[in-house]
């Protein structure tokens, strides 16, 4: 587990500094959108390209753009499970797409800088429904502030414990990697796994079974699972 990427990933989940009522600087966001525009269109006349158009993205169910756009199985499953695009979920997705949707085809490494993400989202928010600034509306939703103790990041898990815990995964996830109906968890980088577990634990990812399973795992237990997955690298 690389410490830096774990910290970056967890920062998304626990939140960082408090957010202002406004999302960010939309003008800067327009420049940053240059990173996205190779695949995504937004604004008047935007159409699906390599990626789906982004008009009306705020409040939209994941994988719900029509016009024959073909999503990955993973994103369609997340949408069916109830994933909706709001500030919190979009921020997590742009920060590390695979943390939120493991099998996404969006070929983007992620924007590490929270400020840049905020600016980009401020720009994209212009192309979703108004009014935008009432307290309960998407753009002004506050992120939760939770301090992540250093100890959690430094935690080294017990791989034997992780092996026992992993047996619970195999009641549903097939050990041969088949992914009909339930996603495969084989051949998965350990850190993606840990980030995904925290995303379920924090209810960023929508699936109720996984929210329950991850929700009762302590930080030590997630570390133990990660340690076990490392041993079978």
């Amino acid at each position: 587990m690389s410490g830096r990427s774990l910290i970056a990933a967890l920062a998304v989940i626990w939140g960082t500094a408090g957010w202002a009522e406004d999302i960010g600087d939309a003008a800067r966001g327009e420049e940053i959108f240059g990173l996205c525009s190779g695949c995504h269109e937004v604004g008047r006349g935007a159409e699906n390209g390599i990626g789906p158009h982004l008009n009306g993205i705020f409040g939209r169910r994941a994988a719900s753009v029509g016009d024959g756009y073909h999503y990955s199985d993973s994103l369609r499953r997340a949408g069916a499970d109830g994933l909706e695009w709001h500030l919190r979920t979009l921020d997590a997705y742009i920060e590390n797409p695979k943390a939120l949707v493991s099998g996404t085809r969006m070929s983007f490494d992620g924007l590490e800088d929270a400020g840049e993400r905020a600016d980009l989202l401020a720009y994209l928010r212009r192309f979703s429904d108004n009014p935008r600034d009432i307290p309960e509306a998407d753009p002004t939703a506050r992120k939760r502030e939770v301090d992540l103790p250093e100890a959690v990041l430094a935690m080294v898990g017990d791989p034997e414990y992780g092996e026992y815990l992993s047996s619970e995964c195999l009641t549903c996830h097939q050990s041969d990697g088949n992914d009909d109906g339930i996603p495969s968890i084989t051949n998965w980088p350990a850190e993606d796994f840990v980030v995904a577990m925290h995303a379920y634990k924090r209810k960023l990812r929508p699936h109720p079974v996984m929210q329950m399973m991850a929700g009762r795992l302590s930080d030590e237990e997630i570390a133990a699972l990660a340690a076990y997955f490392e041993t079978i690298n």
């Binding site: 815990l165 009641t171 050990s175 009909d180 109906g181």
Partner: protein
Amino acid sequence: MTLNRRAFIGTGAAAAVALSAPMVRAANHGKPKVVVIGGGAGGATAARYIAKDSAGEIEVTLVEPTRAYYTCFFSNLYIGGFRELSSIGHSYGTLATEYGINVVHDWAVGVDNDAKTVTLAGGAVLPYDRLILSPGIDFIEDSVPGWSLASQNKMPHAYKAGSQTELLKAQVEAMPEGGLFAMVAPPNPYRCPPGPYERVSMVAHLLKEINPTAKILIADPKPKFSKMALFQEGWQKHYGGMIDWLGPDFGGGNVSVNPDEMTVDIDGAVEKVDACNVIPAQKAGRICEMAGVMDGNWAPVVPHTMQSRMDENIHVLGDATNQGDMPKSGYSANSQAKVAAMAVRGALLDTKVFPAKFSNTCWSLIETDDGVKVGASYQATDEKIAKVDGFISQTGEDSALRKATYNESLGWYAGITEDMFG
């Protein structure tokens, strides 16, 4: 890092090989011996995990009468026409060849708790250091007046999957146009799956296709049942008018049957029926009585290890147990089996034993692509297996979510059967 099947299965073996010599090993009988009775979700999983994780250091014998095992879960889907019977049948070949488990197809007919031996109907006597009982359920005699095992071919229970399930489906298919199907539902606690209410949904689905004017009557001693709101919403939506549910307020708890006449008496009103599914009250499988681990109808267990409260050398799993809050499902038995397997290895090989964790999810199919689920996580307390957290599908969910839920159940079926049978 990669997590492939071989690595996943192989790691436990490698870890166990590295262990120092087992602490607990009687000098005169070689490797420690575990006998598992019952090859369902509890027994097959326990046998497989003990064999896999001890890498040959424990001799595992699995006693199961049938060579072809049909899972109770998804047997209702066969009735509805969503699965072939063969697709829910499994053999024990992989457990024998890949995991070195000694699979014996015979009935266990006796347990000597002091000598620690199991006697089989064929005469063999199997010594054990730990015995795991996972026999499932038997029926309580006379719980439905007029019905006995002798009448199971006229009014099938279909509560052990296989020929009984085939028979029930054939009888539904043979109903005259506009005929009546009755179900005598069981009192709590009962094995589920095969859930009675999913079964009604599947019978309704079949009748809607082949006999749409037929009716379904459920006589139920319980005032409410699991996922009741979801089923009632689904029945109204898909099968409006076909299904009548009579709870105890309408005499559903005062039922007798006459299999020869094909009649059902509900609180004094006699109905002529064309097919009838009687699901009697249940108790632990008979071997639990022979082993002296019963208290009332079920076998009480220590939640941390699934050990019998009567005999510390015996672990009991699944439907047969009285453990607390978990339902009597295959998923529960599979979950309990992993806790027991860890405890048995710990006792016999001195491997680490971690805090027990349990979980359960039960999916049900109401109509094509209309799946629902309920589930919970549990922890071991000294008193019982106690529910920690849970979830249930909501009424009014959209069709995409219901379809995803059904697809998920297909994935789960493949996952758990691979986890049981290798």
